[in-house]
Amino acid sequence: MVLNRSCLLPMAFRDVNARRHIGLQQLSSLALAGRTLLGPVKSCKFIVDEITNESTLICSAVRLIESLDLTSAAGQLLNETIQAQTKEFKTGMSTLLFLVGAWSNAIVECLQQNVPVSAIVSVMSEGLNSCCERVQCLQISIHDVNKELCSSSVRPYASKSKTCQTGCDSLPNSQLFLYFQKDISVPEVIPMNSCSHQDDDCNFNKHLVSPLPGFDSVASLVKPAGDKSTSVISGSGVATSSCNKQKLTHSRYFSTLGKSRFSSQQGNFQGYHLGPSADSCECRGLGHLAMALSHGNETSMKLLQSIVTYQQETAKHSGSSQLNVADIVTCCLVGLPESYSCASPGFVTLVSPEQVTVIKYFEDKLLRILLIDGDLTEQYRHLGFNRPCNVRTIVEHPSLQEGDLWISSMLDNLIKFEVNLVLVKGNVCKNLMESCIANSILLVSSVTWNVLCAFGEVTGAQPVTYLSQLNASCVGSGAQVELWKACDGRAMDLGELVPVRIKAQGLPLLTALLTTTVASKMQFIEDQFWTLMYRLHHALIDKKVFIGGGAVELLCLSHIQMLVEQPLQLPNQNAAKEFHNPWQAASARGYNSVVLQALASGWKQYLLVVMCNTTKAASELEACTSVDNYLRKAADCGSPSAYILNEFRRGCLLRDGAGPFTDHREGLKVYDNVTAKTEAWRRALDLVLLVLQTDAEIVTSPRKNQLLNSHVSSEFMFL
């Protein structure tokens, strides 16, 4: 039995009063929860599970969506879209989520003005295409970016203090100013590689302008999944406008500002320290680019910079590409202060304390290594092997226990081939582990595939599934093991688990050690690190970046303004050849400007919220005035793109996202990914239009009676 749930909006074009599209409303309310995650300064949220009382801290759209209740069809589609963007880019999800909400709202307004669905669909998608083409002029090739960033780092400081001055002028809230000054105690600001002629004032000013990473932690409370989505909104909505100011007074409880500032410099020493940076400009350039893409996330940026430099150093010998994401792994150490974060060549992972003696025994020795691509337990069989069910074994002389027999034979195998170190993809049998420790064999479990492959390549080991497959050619050699030591030279003992570093000659692997004392922060520190990593990765794939800080969105707004004023420009030449063109129909009726403005409102809301989140504006109204101001100036100037580009170069564009780079003079430049950004736009619009064009849900559930008895039964029709 199947039910047809006729649309919650029955044929939008028939009934004027029913122009409230439930699907779009669901999208918009889900997206509202993600407002504070937008922009370089995010407010984290606590997700509290009301049943278990467990809470986690989240700071990204993906994690938010994961914890929301998404049983509605629109919610499922939103989840699917966010996951797709994550899978492809690992960045741009917050933008996507936000625009989904903003455009849903804007389209609902269009529907209320009786704009036909077909006109909204065609004008919006044509408009987005047109904008994506228009903003191409704000792309800068990676090569040019490197040149620019490098030259600016060499350039003497003459023009800089002026930039800072303008920056401060545009900071609207003098109250904020004071808070910043209070919070930043000067001794913590130790300029790195500082130029002797750097003006103290300037340095200080920049501090004030920049949002600091530690400040972003004010949490607004989000109710758990399983609750209605509306309750989420009520929870977070309140926090949005007010908390950015409040957070400054409370920040010391959450903030890691002082420590992290200190740490990142320490980190540079303890991490892989790279050769002279000043003379190899190209290689420093990627580091600059990483910074420009980091949007104020300093810890991750520092980590990434040292990774990039290390990879470039090694690439000089091997001639491989600039950033190899597959060779990077993360290791999370909860319990160490964030200052201990660093990048370490080789593979760092956690092992049980019992194995420490084996590791110490192995130190300075070259080890024979074996790679296992499954579990190391007696019951484990490879994927696709169906356990026999109807086989009975007769045991005539019950003597040795089965398990012991297996362990001893496995151990014999390992000893026979003189294996010292086994990296296992899955789990390891506990008893076998103990026997191995006794025989000085180190077993490391839960090793990912790319790590196995990397070790396979440099040690010559061939991954096997069973120990019975073992032969001489499977075992590699030349691996080294040592306890991982923190910057102060001390091996860390984290109580339960011990970090160990495994390396081999020529091993390209790099481990980013992410540390924090706050366990609930771990997840988002790791997420942030990977986000930044993939931003750089995609910038290198695209070979170009957008100038950031709202420039692209601003140009979109100005472009749409122009389209609205000169509607004849938009339909391209091909459109004339088209037949039954809804676009023409729309423009004839003047739906054009209404729909285009709806499109523009998405980006405008985006800018306003980013400005408010970063406290560049005290209220949305103020932000709105400021954006309108820019738009007017851009229009007056004749060439909006040239104006925006120029403002960006001067470093005073909307003054957001500058990042807290007090110790880097070029910190004012911010860049964005090209494809990730435009794809996020496209995916957001596609989702909204997909839901917009949906007029009915068909529920293929077998439970007709249950639906009949539910409170929404009147909305259903049955076939």
């Binding site: 074009f13 696709g384 026999p388 009975r392 074994t393 007769i394 005539e396 091909n574 009915a696 068909i698």
Partner: protein, 572 residues
């Protein structure tokens, strides 16, 4: 303890069509299907109401297959439409909507159903004769020496599926790819019994549509990087690669009995003996100079290791769907038992290499003769990808049907309105003797013909989902769309620019009239003319074979349903 329950008597329903519930369900189904029709069709979200996958679609194949219905009348209708879809892929909604409209229109006529059936059969034969004749004004010959008409056909299929979320550039790009893939599958050396090859769609979800690509040969995904780069492969003396294709599981678990129990003594391992047998197969493969082993299911890691050490590439988990094209492409016979391995089973390949798209790695098998190709299909998320896949399969099928019968029908509602005009003209000019032959009066004939024409026109009308008007012209009988919101008083020629299929512009005065709904007056009509020029760049074209079949299926199903007298329902 078992319990016997008395059987319930069967339920006996007379004249099912006159029952309220049936006609309501029928009109609801008609409304759902009409709202899906065409490039501006509204989408449906199909899901189980408990979270999980949501299918967003406007395609009949997806909707009808997931929409089980309770009433047998609807069951008959959906079954015959689904049967049409399985044979032709295209024109499913056309068939279903036409069928529903015919049932509704015929029911309202108050003429004995046997008379209606006889007249409608005659009308159908008039239509079919006209569609088959050279003078037919709504069909175009497809010229295979140029790609333009073929591209139009593919574009029309893609454009009519709005849930694919494609923009114009993407439609053009994909249309080219689909056509390219289709041309790969046409054998180069035409024989009398040439068989088309196969295009295999490789899923690549969450990427941009523009990243899609067509490759000759087949791609098999290898889950992780198991292969050394660059790939070295053993070749035979003729520089070919010998390939063995297994369609059984080689994971080493086949000793497990399906029924009954095996009892073995402790110390005897069935697993080991099975593995030894597999390794013997491996030995034979190595001896036979096989360079590549492909297995539909899983290969035991030990066998894989053995093959690898002997320079044989082993690829497992190829999947059932690849077996047929693999065997076709390589000329190998799939080996179903490890005991009958004979040299005659092996096939050959020109080359093997490793390709990677996004994060996925593939083994690319390149054949000598490319009748098998792979379409790496990308779309931004799961639901739009699934929709696009269905659309691509339809488009490929349409091309195959067109190759058989190189004709196409004008799309965008023009064929329907043109046929309706033709039938209106024809039904007025029939001789009295033909009415006697059919066994009806002229009035009866005219009434049924009008119902038939209105049904056809209602299909064209359902292309429009806004409040705008739909017109037809009195010269060519084509279909014209007026954007919503214009006062009906203004001159039609100011409001329309092109007809639905794109052949006619509004250059001449074409005497437009409104395409009326249910209560239109009977229109007298001249024979509709054939448009002067039928070659334009952006024509909307429909598949000839699919539409002809759809017309027949719709009418025959409608006749069958109008003729239903009793429904007997077993209630046990």
């Amino acid at each position: 303890m078992s319990r016997l329950e008395a059987k319930k008597p069967s339920l006996f329903i007379t004249d099912p069509l006159t029952k309220d519930g049936v006609s309501q369900s029928l009109s609801l189904l008609n409304r759902i299907l009409k709202s899906c029709y065409g490039p501006a069709g509204q989408l449906k979200q199909l899901h189980n109401g408990m979270g999980g996958y949501v299918c967003t679609t406007s395609q009949s194949s997806a909707i009808l297959s997931r929409l089980p219905v309770s009433h047998p009348v609807l069951g008959v209708l959906m079954a015959s439409v689904q049967n049409h879809i399985s044979r032709f892929s295209d024109c499913g909604l056309f068939t279903a909507i036409l069928c529903c409209s015919l049932i509704e229109n015929f029911k309202s006529l108050n003429i004995a159903s046997c008379t209606v059936i006889k007249i409608s059969k005659h009308l159908l034969s008039l239509c079919m004769d006209y569609l088959k004749s050279e003078t037919c004004g709504c069909r175009v010959a497809v010229d295979f020496s140029s790609v333009e008409t073929l591209l139009c056909l593919v574009r029309s299929v893609l454009r009519s599926k709005p849930a694919c979320m494609l923009n114009k550039t993407e439609v053009d790009h994909l249309a080219t790819l689909i056509l390219k893939a289709f041309l790969f599958t046409v054998p180069c050396h035409a024989e009398s019994n040439a068989v088309l090859g196969k295009c295999v769609i490789v899923p690549m979800k969450s990427r941009r549509v523009m990243d899609s690509a067509v490759l000759p040969g087949l791609l098999i995904e290898v889950p992780e990087i198991q292969l050394a780069k660059p790939l070295t492969v053993k070749r035979t003396c003729s520089n070919m690669i010998k390939i063995a294709l297994f369609c059984l599981s080689m994971s080493g678990d086949s000793f497990s009995p399906k029924e009954g129990t095996i009892t073995v003594h402790h110390g005897i391992s069935l697993e080991m003996s099975e593995l030894n047998q597999l390794l013997n197969v491996g030995k034979q493969l190595v001896n036979d100079e096989v360079g590549l082993v492909v297995c539909q299911k899983v290969i035991h890691p030990s066998l894989k290791q053995y093959l690898k050490e002997n320079g044989v590439i082993a690829v497992d988990r190829a999947g059932l769907s690849l077996m047929e094209p693999l065997s076709r492409m390589t000329g190998s016979k799939p080996i179903a038992s490890i005991h009958d391995l004979s040299p005659g089973c092996y096939g050959s390949l020109k080359d093997v290499c490793v390709e990677s798209f996004a994060s996925k790695n593939f083994v690319h098998l390149i054949p000598n003769d490319t009748v098998v190709c792979s379409l790496v299909l990308c779309n931004r998320n799961e639901t739009t990808w699934d929709e696009l896949k269905r659309a691509c399969e339809t488009a490929e099928h349409v091309l195959q049907l067109t190759l058989k019968e190189p004709l196409a029908l004008l799309g965008g509602g023009c064929t329907e309105t043109h046929l309706a005009s033709y039938i209106r003209y024809k039904s007025c000019s029939l001789s009295t003797s033909s009415f006697e032959d059919i066994g009806c009066s002229q009035t009866q004939y005219q009434l049924v013909a009008d119902g038939f024409c209105r049904s056809l026109e209602s299909v064209a009308r359902s292309l429009n989902h806004d409040e705008g008007e739909i017109l037809t012209d009195m010269v060519y009988g084509h279909c014209w769309f007026v954007p919503p919101g214009f006062p009906p008083a203004s001159s039609w020629s100011d409001l329309v620019s092109k007809c639905g299929c794109g052949v006619n512009g509004n250059g001449e005065n074409l005497k437009w009239r409104l395409l009326q709904g249910q209560f239109g007056s009977v229109v007298t009509q001249d024979c509709p003319k054939e448009p002067l020029v039928k070659a334009a760049d952006f024509l909307t074209l429909d598949c000839y074979a699919a539409k002809c079949s759809g017309l027949q299926v719709a009418l025959e199903t409608a006749n069958l349903i109008s003729d239903l007298l009793y429904v007997i329902k077993d209630q046990n």
